[in-house]
Symmetry: C2
């Protein structure tokens, strides 16, 4: 293992060691536990009349020969069940629920009965085309689904300690291992949609089976090699595609045509992953790939792979990410476009992609302690991810725009941008992804190595875990939206050379720290306040961060944001909504940010904060389409609300980037 | 004939009575005569190696059984020949060319030989599917091509007096008349792409055959009636499409699917034309339809039809037109979108659509003398249309954007926007359309009724024509780009109650008029200065208009132009280019328009004018994607050049709407 990696190596403290007490995230977790998981269960079982048919559970029953019928849905329909199961796992840690656990156990049993003797598991092929297993990896999502199952299985095992789900997962992983690899007779290929790599690494984390690490590394190493695997398998299939869930595949030549149309960049197979230094193609695939790459790089001490990860990471967050954390600038291929191309209205900004970026950030952080990673997690959890779910948990965004004009939403380039959250989606990747992510937020707060506990997120919780040979209990008391005062109580079982590191968020204009232990010393490295020389087993740290209202500008190369600013306060990105400011938000502009008000408001029983700032509205009543400039300015207080909150009060305009004088 | 129409009825003075002497348009006409027509002839004959194959002439030879092979090209390939022929007709009036005339005569003979005994003429169906004639009107462009032939035939006859071309046209028109109409056994339908209506009206103008008027009216009246003709013919065909030139038609259900996908709005068949009050669907089709509607309304004195025309016109120019005269906000269906949806970068703005709008404006003007129509003609001829052709006549725009950023042209929504003019297009509608339009500019200058000559455009020329019983010779001496002094010399054969009306352009901040005839009186109505009480047979009018640099604003509902202005001087819309101002034009803004310089510059031997205006450049060297607002302003002289001129000095950014302080 190289120095480069070992010097920064940490591991996450997993969700099952952390009890969230946070007001804000607690709200969302309760919402998901009480509303979304039961709702989702009904969707999976086709029990809701006004929601698109899922058939996901029925597909498993048919595969297990316990029901009759045809497979229904997208080829990745199974993953909806797995993501539900993963969310259930986290929820059982947060809140015991015997009935739900029994239901999950039964689903696991059903999955086990659907699984084939050789371990194979994918209901479409089991039901419809058993002859075609592993023969159309390009878009058939067999390994993608497996990856989600591995994540779910690991989570369920960690939450409940039950091994049945791990047995099924291992049987499936072994089936994949037996079918893929360098050895003669095995398939030298990979899935069109990355996910199995990070899934295998999750399974590896609990099973410690080296072959799963090797298999994940194999998939990563093979990706983008010549000859192009998807052309090889297409030739081998007799130049046809089998899965007709994609319209493009209906004609025999479609996959070939589609590959050349959309390019190998679409699924990151245009070059070997180590040579990829720009994030291209389908955004979710890129970040899932990145997660797998980081996991493998870290576990195998692979410097060249980690370097590629760093390049991809840097490219995404420095050149291709919206200020809300959204990624993917176009719906065409749900993809990244060029550097600095960040249109605010016609983007994709898929919720799943934001989730994937947070997942990648957590992993990067485990290879290098630097707040540049934990800042992105914070950005995602307060903005880009939670904008995907309504405050009542009953509707969801797939695409997360930064500008919406419902009255002027006629251009086909905006077709994929829904102006309101939708009850469900035929391609239902995002809603269950939000559920599993937000219930797993405990996973994002801490990491440790031999002697240091790193506090990455100021989310109120209490937790207990080992660090080196000592045992630690830790309590964070804060309410970051309300104030930036954070109290951290630590209790070490014994006094070795333990250190504590606290993230200093990029938005903080300074900090004040009070430590009950007079001997403890502070130093700041890479955005973290390190406390060492700790002389007491019990210490209390009072950290006060300094939030201000900040007018953020985008890089001069982002043409869509020229002359505009995005307003932030602490981790929150704000936006203007029509309901507060009237229509034609683009005719407003901010005067200055010197005087502003920040006031609480209630959404049902949740306290949030709005900002009022001085500005102008351009008044021009001339109804002729083009006319001489005769714009009058009117003083106007501009009201801004948190971005994640937009669209919770009915249909209306929304704009993140507001013009500045 | 109703009062409403008759009170304003005028007729154009045709190109063959007008000799253009204008410096600016003379430049373009010479370019087309000397460069484009010969180039186009080579294209039509596949004589250029680096240009997309056309096969258009060969198709006629195959249809005439004088060559072997298959039809090649789009289903409307014939129209490329017809537009070339039409351009040749105008060119022969402007500049005699025996060789070219002989060539055109031979093409006409060839067309005649390709024509079937029953008058049918469309090389695709003659060559490939004679059994399917007039059975797939939805997208097969049979009548569209006929319409272009009628326009060409009328022009060629007007230019040369030769009747052969009119004989072929009449035979074709009669064939259509025999196949379409209300009578039993005839097809009660119309073409998917409007054009035959205006073409028939052109043919009617020289033949005075009432049945052509009736046929045009039939097509217009039937459009959008129930049952939907394209579904009827699809059922009649056995639910298949035959033309495979459109990808959508490859599967048997495609036309049905495509109709429902793209909607009946695409070809303006969603409701009867008299009920259409918003321009929707394919922009070129809308304006060609509008031309036919106006022609029919005027000739048949149909008030309800004219009202529909006025509504469509108003909707286009007041809610859906760019300041350059471009129309069509999206490449999806090459179509209009909603009111005020005018994105500057991802539009369509097809050159053909601007031409069609100018054609419609000329026709509207003949039903109502009002400068609101002639202003649009002026806007198009100085901006939206001529931007379509390079100053050397060797390359063309199909799409005419108002903003281009070559270094950041990565988003698929911009795919159709070419950042440089192209040598030719596989779908080659625009280049020949520019040729025929600009050579026919003489048609747009004057109209008359019994006692008045209307001067619509200040394009230098001399002309001779009848007005009532008198004969008039008229000379306009001006160079509108250079100065706004216009000298008009009129010579009436006798003194009846003749009047002269001169357009007062909307950009003119006042005017000064000097008439050599002291007794003549002036009054202004609807944007025209009317001179009456003329007491001398020879008069000289000196009209001085007052141009200023104007910062034009868009209606407050056009969100893409918020905070920006477009600079105009006289009829010219200006733009900023990277070559003059450096990159990132969106970081420039205009301080004020009080002090500015307007200076001549030479492009080869053509004098044009640029504008220099005070402004600022925002300087922000922070390379982080998002950072605190720390923008510095630098004084900057912003150089603006005429919009039509952009892209003539190499690849670079361009922006029409510039930010204003």
């Amino acid at each position: 293992m190289s120095n480069k990696i070992t010097k920064v190596l940490t591991n996450n403290i997993k969700f099952n060691n952390v009890n969230i007490t946070d007001r804000f995230f607690g709200y969302y977790q309760n919402l998901i536990i009480n509303e979304v998981i039961p709702y989702q269960w009904k969707v999976l079982n086709d029990e809701l009349e006004d929601v698109v048919k899922s058939s996901a559970i029925k597909n498993f029953k048919i595969a297990a020969k316990e029901a009759k019928g045809n497979f229904y849905g997208f080829v990745f329909q199974d993953s909806d069940v797995y993501k539900w199961l993963e969310a259930v796992a986290y929820s059982l840690h947060l809140k015991q629920n015997k009935e739900l656990e029994k239901c999950a156990d039964e689903v696991i049993e059903l999955i086990g009965r659907a699984q084939q003797d050789d371990g194979y598991l994918h209901t479409y092929f089991i039901i419809e085309r058993p002859d075609m297993k592993f023969k159309d990896l390009w878009e058939c999502h067999e390994l993608y689904c497996a990856g989600h199952f591995f994540e779910a299985a690991t989570a369920y095992y960690n939450a409940t300690g039950k091994v049945k789900v791990i047995e099924i997962a291992k049987k499936l992983a072994d089936c994949i291992y037996n079918n893929f690899g360098y050895e003669d007779g095995k398939i030298k290929g990979y899935d069109g949609h990355e996910e199995v790599e990070l899934g295998l690494m999750a399974l590896y984390s609990v099973t410690k089976e080296e072959r799963y690490l090797h298999l994940a590394k194999f998939f990563i190493d093979e990706r983008g090699q010549s000859p192009h695997f998807f052309e090889v398998e297409w030739e081998a299939r007799g130049k046809t595609s089998y899965w007709s869930g994609w319209k493009q595949c209906e004609s025999p030549n479609a996959s070939k045509e589609f590959i050349s149309f959309i390019g190998a960049e679409y699924n990151q197979t245009h070059k070997p992953v180590r040579k990829q230094d720009e994030a291209v193609g389908h955004a979710v695939r890129v970040v899932y790939m990145l997660c797998g790459m980081i996991d493998v790089a870290k576990e195998s001490g692979d410097d060249s792979l980690l370097e590629a990860c760093q390049k991809l990471w840097d490219n995404i967050v420095n050149k291709k990410m919206y200020i809300t954390g959204a990624i993917g600038s176009t719906h065409v291929g749900e993809a990244f476009t060029g550097n600095y191309d960040l249109p605010n209205d016609s983007l994709y900004g898929e919720t799943c992609a934001s989730i994937g970026l947070a997942m990648a950030a957590k992993r990067m952080l485990n290879t290098e302690i630097n707040s540049k990673y934990s800042d992105i997690i914070e950005k995602e959890i307060y903005n880009g991810i939670i904008s995907g779910i309504a405050m009542d948990g009953k509707s969801f965004f797939y695409v997360n725009p930064l500008e919406v004009y419902p009255k002027n939403h006629t251009n086909p380039v905006l077709e994929q941008v829904k102006i309101e959250r939708q009850k469900w989606y035929p391609c239902a990747c995002c809603p269950p992804n939000i559920s599993r992510f937000l219930l797993n937020i405990g996973d994002y707060i801490y990491s440790t190595n031999n002697d240091t506990v790193y506090i990455h997120q100021y989310i109120a919780n209490n937790s207990n875990f080992n660090i080196g040979d000592s045992y630690i209990s830790l309590e964070i008391d804060c309410d970051l939206l309300k104030s930036q005062e954070i109290r951290i109580k630590l209790n070490f079982s014994d006094l070795s050379d333990n250190k504590v590191a606290l993230r200093l968020p990029s938005w903080s204009k300074g900090y004040l720290i009070n430590i009950s232990d007079d001997k403890a010393k502070c130093r700041v490295i890479d955005g973290y306040i390190y406390l060492d020389n700790i002389s007491q087993k019990k210490i209390v740290i009072d950290l006060t961060l300094k939030a201000e209202l900040i007018l953020m500008k985008a890089d001069r190369r982002v043409r869509y944001d020229a002359g505009k600013a995005a307003i932030t306060y602490g981790p929150i990105v704000y936006c203007a909504e029509e309901i507060d400011n009237g229509s034609m938000l683009y005719n407003l502009f901010i005067k200055d940010s010197k005087s502003f008000k920040r006031e609480p408001f209630m959404h049902k029983d949740l306290e949030l904060f709005k900002v009022t700032i001085n500005g102008y509205k351009e008044i021009d009543d001339d109804d002729s389409l083009y006319h001489e400039n005769n714009v009058q300015l009117e003083n106007k207080e501009i009201i801004l609300v948190p971005y994640h909150y937009w669209g919770n009060r009915g249909l209306g305009e929304m704009q993140v980037w507001v013009r500045v004088k």
